[in-house]
Symmetry: C2
Subunit: 526 residues, 2 copies
């Protein structure tokens, strides 16, 4: 299947070009300077007549040192059109606009892309096959959360959510473009009447998306990736997820052109794609290919299922996004997902901490944290959310609308994140899951063993290793993942051959453990 | 990638056509009659000069009631060429030969395809998405074993293996075409000298393959499927697995033309494909596509890995063939493999029962049987083998050469097969693995719960079920999977709502169990 690179936006009259610092670029830089991985924006004044979403095309080619990147533009309402570009390299970028409106065609300009400011590590990419890192090489240790419609709530509630996130360990937020619960912003398309289905799919409402991108940028300012979910099955009343092919394409192109330059954006094509009754697998393949073709910034792309696993080996998928409540109850189950997709795995939905009467929303804090640890041991990543509400209404909880967090898992997830950040780059690898060591890390350098709900009083310090492999000496820490303590064990473990398959220190073959649940052991080469 | 349908075999002179009853067809039927799913064979006398494997093409088109099937032929040595066809439907089949040798081109004939004899259920096909059934609809309950080079041993040892199989529960045998251990038959290609690599890949030795197909037919006579493995990584000395593209194609085409008409043949492209260093993923894809294109009988196709899972969603794969020692240690791990491939799953290698010092060859009988049960609970199928040898040499064991079985698992696998045969058609489905019921069967009709190594003394009889679903009444059996007993529990369980998600019988919410390992419970609707 091929996907056209046609863009639906353009300008008709007079170039009112300007370069704008965006919220992510963070400063009102002088015209002509944009930092690497920041946003360079062109603004055009154009036609208001007809249907600007369908009648005109607009794009610009940006070039620097022989590299040429074509960037689509979008209509922002009131006769204003924009093109947003996030430069991947420093240097002088020249641009030329192309438009179906002759007055806008062939405009030119340039800007300097300068070094990124502190805290700007660039977009997150796949690293080491199964992990993530920012473009500058800094590892990205995914500790995600989900608040589906937080961005669509009142300014006050959004501000409360952001304040919560500022104090929380989460560095990725899953969020829906279309509302799934009671929201303030509910009209992504221009309304044509009073009924829930009275809207015109050919005319997007720029105010809705301007509001949404403000939330993306505010997450970015907190160092949080925005995992933007384009479709979901939860709103048959309004039917935004049930448009036809041409309307889906217009919407997807708009999202990609409008949001894609923000370096903290990830694309999640759908939540529970297999519950959207009006789309086939071929539709999802097509829409993902469309995003891949239309997005010059090549943001991460995934799709999330309820029952039928998407084939994450398809080339337009960058990582597996999985819903499964049982898959992160041990390391082997988690690791298998890597073996199948051969890409990074994020378990974006593993049931939620909460007090819901629904069985997917009443994990204890301990259970929520345990899932993260098993995911880590399988070389994968996990996502949090919670469903606490006085009335046990998940729609009003963090999962639905955001606000405050009341669960007990977040401090422990902050502790976990610190363990991850102190660990190997780019991430923790499972080690010989076939043989049930339940050990992960980086062979001959760093090992974690996690005990889950067991209450061990002793552990044989045995590491996988074969003849000729480095035996090394290790220091050992006992980690209480719930009480958030790290207790070093005195002395070293000097490994020697134990069997054809294992190493241990014959002078101290076991260690004593405190008999509590949620323990882990860490060995680091000295 | 497209695959040519060219065949490399042909005849040059004089048609000595004959129809032959094959061992599978079981009787010396009169010329002109072949039973459905039996083998109709054409024999041609042809040229011995040049290289018959490369210089001539031969095929025949068989037609009946508007259906036309093109069948490739093969060279059988000494100037003899054959075409084998297994008719899928009853009726009068007309055939016409095509050959690059003009004297052989355009020969015609016909035969009657008659009803299958007793015990001929046809080839095994995928059924119900995740299971198998014979072409006549009879479920095929896979209880596989592996004896890699049994077919390449002496006549006496082969006879001993067949006698063992006759008394064993196995209905599928994995077997290599190329030897992996010490064998009597080791020359699939014509030898050109005394060194291990002195052979000519352009000239197959028909005697080697005639011998191999005799073994296929003898398995068929026992009702055992032959899972024929075309390549493997265990014989770098001779290098049969390290030929180039053209030689691989010649070999694959020969195998398919020669063996494909036998209805008990399955194609396994390789054992541990990812350890064959001389072939890439593109090579495997190509060879599987070649088999698909060249095989008019459309036998089952799989490929088996050691580490890197093949993408079993690829359309030329009929079922996942998996090696994993940890994946069948619970039902969820097993079931996940269905979710990834969306096809039947056979765990063809899960470690072996035996006394080997190698960690993959020393399961107890209990552990071997446990893996089969967990696989069943995950809606998948498992394979057995054993590595008992007085000298602890796996090459001399059942796994390597066949012979006798000494392990304790086979009678328990026979018992398991009976449980499967008494169960739902086409097979056991996992039920809500997400929610850790560890229940499988057919919803509202038949349930199994397996306890593995646990020693339960009590079990709450709770079945998943929601408002509006049939609650039904069930009789219950306690199954001791090791001692091979089925103990009915008196009375019925009349289900009622227990929670939003569950049913139970409030009059008898639990049952007592005997506190032994390897128990299961079976509920059957009355």
């Amino acid at each position: 299947m091929t996907v056209s690179r046609r863009t639906m936006l353009a300008v008709s009259v007079g170039l009112g070009a300007a370069t704008m610092a965006t919220p992510l670029a963070a400063s009102k830089a002088a015209v002509g300077r944009t930092e690497r991985w920041g946003v360079f924006e062109l603004k055009f004044d154009g036609p208001r007549d007809g249907n600007p979403f369908d009648d005109v095309t607009l794009s610009a080619s940006f070039s620097c040192d022989g590299k040429v990147i074509r960037v689509p533009g979008f209509y922002d309402g009131d006769g204003v059109y924009r093109i947003r570009f996030s430069p991947p390299e420093m240097g002088r970028w020249q641009w030329t606009s192309r438009s179906s409106a002759s007055a806008m065609d062939g405009q030119q300009g340039s800007f300097n892309c300068v070094a990124p400011s502190a805290g700007n590590h660039g977009p997150v990419r796949v690293a080491g096959g199964y992990h993530f890192a920012y473009a500058d090489g800094t590892p990205f240790r995914q500790i995600g959360t989900t608040s589906y419609s937080w961005a669509l709530q009142s300014e006050a509630l959004c501000a409360r959510t952001l304040a919560t996130l500022k104090a929380a360990p989460f560095n990725k937020m899953r969020m829906l473009v279309f509302p799934n619960v009671e929201s303030v912003a509910v009209n992504p398309f221009v309304r044509t009447g009073d009924g829930p289905k009275d809207w015109d799919p050919t005319r997007l409402d720029p105010a809705y998306f301007r509001r949404f991108e403000d939330r993306i940028c505010k997450l970015g300012a907190l160092g949080i990736e925005a995992d933007v979910i384009l479709f979901h099955p939860y709103d048959e009343k309004r039917g935004y997820n049930d448009m036809g092919r041409a309307d889906d394409e217009r919407y997807v192109r708009y999202i990609v052109a409008r949001f894609g330059a923000y370096r903290n954006v990830w694309w999640s094509m759908a939540n529970e794609y297999d519950d959207v009754k009006t789309k086939t697998m071929a539709d999802w393949d097509h829409l993902l290919q469309l995003v891949q073709a239309e997005d010059p910034h090549d943001r991460l792309r995934s799709i999330h299922q309820i029952t039928v696993y998407y084939d994450n080996r398809k080339p337009w998928i960058t990582h597996s996004s999985i819903q499964n409540g049982a898959a992160v109850l041990d390391d082997v189950r988690a690791q298998l997902h890597r073996s199948f997709g051969l890409k990074p795995v994020v378990f974006d939905e593993v049931c939620y901490e909460g007090n819901s009467t629904l069985r997917w929303g009443n994990l204890t804090g301990e259970q929520m944290v345990e899932r993260f640890w098993w995911g880590l041991m399988g070389g994968t990543y996990v996502g949090h959310s919670e469903t606490f509400d006085p009335d046990r209404n998940a729609d009003h909880s963090w999962l639905g609308q955001g606000g405050a967090l009341t669960g007990s898992s977040p401090p422990r997830l902050a502790f976990l994140r610190k363990v991850m950040e102190d660990g190997p780059v780019p991430g923790i690898e499972p080690i010989q899951t076939w043989w049930n060591y339940s050990i992960a890390g980086k062979e001959f350098e760093y090992y974690l063993h996690y005990f889950g709900a067991d209450r061990p009083t002793r552990w044989p310090v045995v590491l996988p290793g074969r003849k000729g492999q480095p035996m090394n000496a290790y220091r050992l820490d006992i980690i209480d993942t719930w009480n958030m303590t790290v207790t070093p064990v005195d002395g070293l473990f000097q490994m020697q051959r134990h069997s054809d398959y294992d190493f241990h220190d014959p002078a101290r073959p076991t260690i004593d453990l405190p008999g509590r649940p949620w323990l882990a052991v860490r060995l680091v080469k000295v």
